[in-house]
Amino acid sequence: MSRSLILGACLSSLVLLAAAVSFVWTPYDYTALNIPDKLQPPNAQHWFGTDHFGRDMFSMIMVGARTSIAVALVAVGIGMALGVPLGLTAAARKGSALDELIMRGNDLVFAFPSLVIAILITAVFGAGAINAIIAIGIFNIPVFARITRGAALSLWEREFILAARVSGKGAARISAEHILPNVANLLIVQGTIQFSLGILAEAGLSYVGLGAQPPTPSWGRMLADAQTMVSFAPHLALIPGLAIIVTVLGLNLLGDGLRDWLDPRIRVART
């Protein structure tokens, strides 16, 4: 196992652990206001300091991890659940009108950056975490569809697929039995990358107020709140930013590490 895999796995599980523990324990109540203790820099009582209402930053970061992970994870789920079948179908019917339709549809969705989708949804239905999930999720669909189709197309050219067809298996069965397991690694790696992009996108959306609404803590909005105080309380901006960086860095390293680890060419060479 490579160093990046180990480091990535450690950083990612650290964040996951913080999110999980926050359900049962946080050092302080993350909603409790404590004006006398406001804007404290990191210290022994408040490891990450306190914000302008005196809330404990460490607790807020822990709960914020929950929001980030939930939004990004569900968005990746949406992208995979819709994108992978679309990609498999397009590859199985390569060159058909259906393939063309799916690919053109993909291109079209690519023209709507997730922020633009979020703006549209918010304009119509108002802001909220669900909107962020949908906006990021929709943007993930063509990513997965495209990567699945690309990998599946090269597999369809392989002789073991021809052998399966000679054995009388249909396109759906071949897709499930031969194509999907052979693109799974790729999807896991891409899923990790999209997860990290989702964390970044969620932070961006909640920073501009299109994501999770108060009182749900989110890293992006903590940064928005910190903006006016950055000159005299830089820890308010530094700490949520570092939380995002650690999470995204961890997931990216994990993705890179998994790619190398799962690469069948490398694995065959090792056995």
Binding site: R158, E159, F160, L162, A163, A164, R165, V166, S167, G168, K169, H178, P181, N182, P264, V268, T271
Partner: protein
């Protein structure tokens, strides 16, 4: 005096020994062929002369060009030698040229990078060498891109680049392996002509002993990084010393004897089959054009018969194979197996399909890497109405693995645990397991080393005896088809141009194309066969 002398050359890459104490020498105007199977280190020897070895390579010994040692030279010195004093031609003409630069650019680059002459003269020289290799600028302007040329034409461009500065030494690494026989003959002739014209030394790397015997003045036989035998071609062919050399020559012209042919009923009937491919439209409102890959093909294959189908790449033999297997629908004509159509109502006919199986060329791409052998070879059971389960399934797996020369214990392994030859055995087991009436072998031995190929041919002969096989053997390799079939068809541009008993077609071809094909294929001298 020798042009190139290699003395005690040893090479290791990241600590793994690749070459051990290799010796060879070339004089001007001489062709030296280095031959051997995959992993013999023959290509590495060529790359060592160019000093284009992979990272982590360590060489010891001496490589002397015109008396001065190349291993002492630094990288800058080598750059001035490569292309100017030593030219090199590679195996894969399809990928050896930069796809985004014109052929003129690429040939001129050899000249300009060595500052041998000003651009205007370099342009003239590029036209001159391209004409010399058979690509005159009036038909092949310098502005052509590689993708606008065929494989043989691209290899000519690669040769033009290599000889543009008249190097003293030319290295050709499997220069014709990726080419069709008729193209191969032309390229070999071109190389031979260039050697005598420019008085070059040619170091030729090839696995094909027939080419070696035809071309070389000197032969160097390698195995596992060592030279096992070398000498002047005539002498070596008549006095082979090393058992490996003998084995190699025997395997190259390997012959098997098939069991007697029993007269019987027609099994596969192909009548006037047409297969068209749609071409992309030329303009927005043009009607799309068609390419007729298979054109009015008719033939009959009797049960128990072993039929060959030979032809060069693009002749339509693979397309015909797919049509017979019912993988693609035909645009005209009829394909019937045992009287039933393989395609009925735009759908493949399952009842017919279970009587047919196929063995493909690529031993590495033919299996799902995630399944175990037991699951891989039982895939055709899907064609049966009732699933084969339990002990019967185990027995059939064990029987098949034994039949193809593997062990029943291999059923639990994954495909990457097997060598190329073993994989091809597994592919045959998969094809045989439902006892099909017809097997198609699509270039099934073309990717194998000669010694492995000989073993697979033996296996096929045994299986013919044991299972009364009927097969259609599709191949570009004339010598293999000659020994493994009773009857043969020759295909060209979608049509079958000649058909008949294998022996009579090969000994007395009627059609001009068949004659060309047979004349173009290099043959092993008879001497080689007698030795063993």
């Amino acid at each position: 005096m020798s042009l190139l002398e290699i003395e005690n050359l040893s090479l290791s890459i990241h600590g793994t020994d690749i070459l051990k104490q290799v010796n060879l020498s070339i004089t001007p105007g001489q062709i030296v062929a280095v031959t051997g199977e995959s992993g013999s280190g023959k290509s590495m020897t060529a790359l060592a002369v160019m000093q284009l070895l992979p990272d982590g390579a360590k060489t010891t010994g001496v490589i002397r060009l015109n008396g001065s040692d190349l291993l002492d030279r630094d990288e800058n010195d080598m750059c001035t030698l490569r292309g100017a004093a030593i030219g090199m031609v590679f195996q894969e003409p399809m990928t050896a040229l930069n796809p985004v630069r014109t052929i003129g650019d690429q040939v001129m680059e050899t000249i300009l990078i060595h500052k041998a002459m000003p651009p205007r003269q370099a342009r003239d020289r590029a036209e001159e060498v391209l004409t010399r290799v058979g690509l005159p600028p009036d038909r092949f302007p310098l502005s052509r891109f590689p993708h606008e040329l065929s494989g043989g034409q691209r290899q000519r461009v690669v040769i033009a680049m290599a000889i543009a500065l008249r190097p003293k030494l030319l290295i050709a690494d499997e220069p014709t392996t990726a080419l069709d026989v008729t193209t191969q003959a032309q390229i070999l002739k071109l190389l031979k002509g260039l050697v005598s014209e420019y008085d070059m030394g040619l170091l030729m790397i090839t696995h094909d002993l027939a080419v070696v015997a035809d071309m070389a003045d000197q032969i160097v036989v390698m195995r596992h990084g060592e030279v096992v035998e070398s000498g002047a071609t005539d002498h070596l062919l008549h006095h082979m010393q090393h058992p490996y050399t003998r084995m190699l020559f025997k395997a190259s012209g390997y012959q098997v004897s098939l069991p007697e042919l029993a007269q019987s009923r027609p099994l596969l009937e192909v009548t006037n089959v047409i297969r068209d491919y749609r071409l992309p439209r030329k303009g927005l409102f043009d009607t799309p054009g068609h390419h007729r890959a298979v054109d009015q093909v008719s033939f009959t294959l009797n049960s128990g018969e072993r039929l060959g189908l030979v032809g060069e790449s693009g002749c339509g033999k693979s397309t015909l194979t797919k049509a017979i297997l019912g993988l693609e629908e035909v645009q005209g004509g009829d394909i019937r197996l045992d009287g039933q159509p393989v395609f009925s109502g735009h759908k493949p006919n399952l009842a017919v399909r279970r009587k047919m199986q196929v063995v493909f060329q690529d031993p590495y791409g033919s299996f799902n890497p995630r399944h175990r052998v037991a699951r891989l070879i039982t895939e055709p059971f899907h064609l049966l109405d009732a699933p084969v389960m339990g002990s019967e399934r185990q027995d059939r797996i064990a029987e098949m693995l034994t039949a193809v020369g593997l062990s029943p214990d291999d059923a639990g392994k994954y495909i990457h645990e097997f060598s190329g030859g073993q994989r091809q055995r597994i592919a045959i087991a998969r094809a045989l397991i439902i006892r099909p009436e017809l097997i198609l072998f699509d270039e099934a031995v073309s990717a194998l080393d000669v010694s492995v190929r000989a073993q697979i041919l033996d296996l096929l002969a045994e299986l013919c005896e044991a299972y009364d096989l009927t097969y259609l053997f599709i191949s570009h390799d004339l010598s293999v088809v000659r020994t493994i079939t009773d009857r043969v068809m020759v295909m060209r541009a979608g049509k079958i141009v000649e058909e008949g008993d294998t022996e009579s077609v090969f000994s007395d071809p009627q059609h001009q194309y068949t004659k060309d094909l047979i004349n173009a294929a290099p043959v092993l001298p008879d001497i080689g066969r007698d030795v063993a």
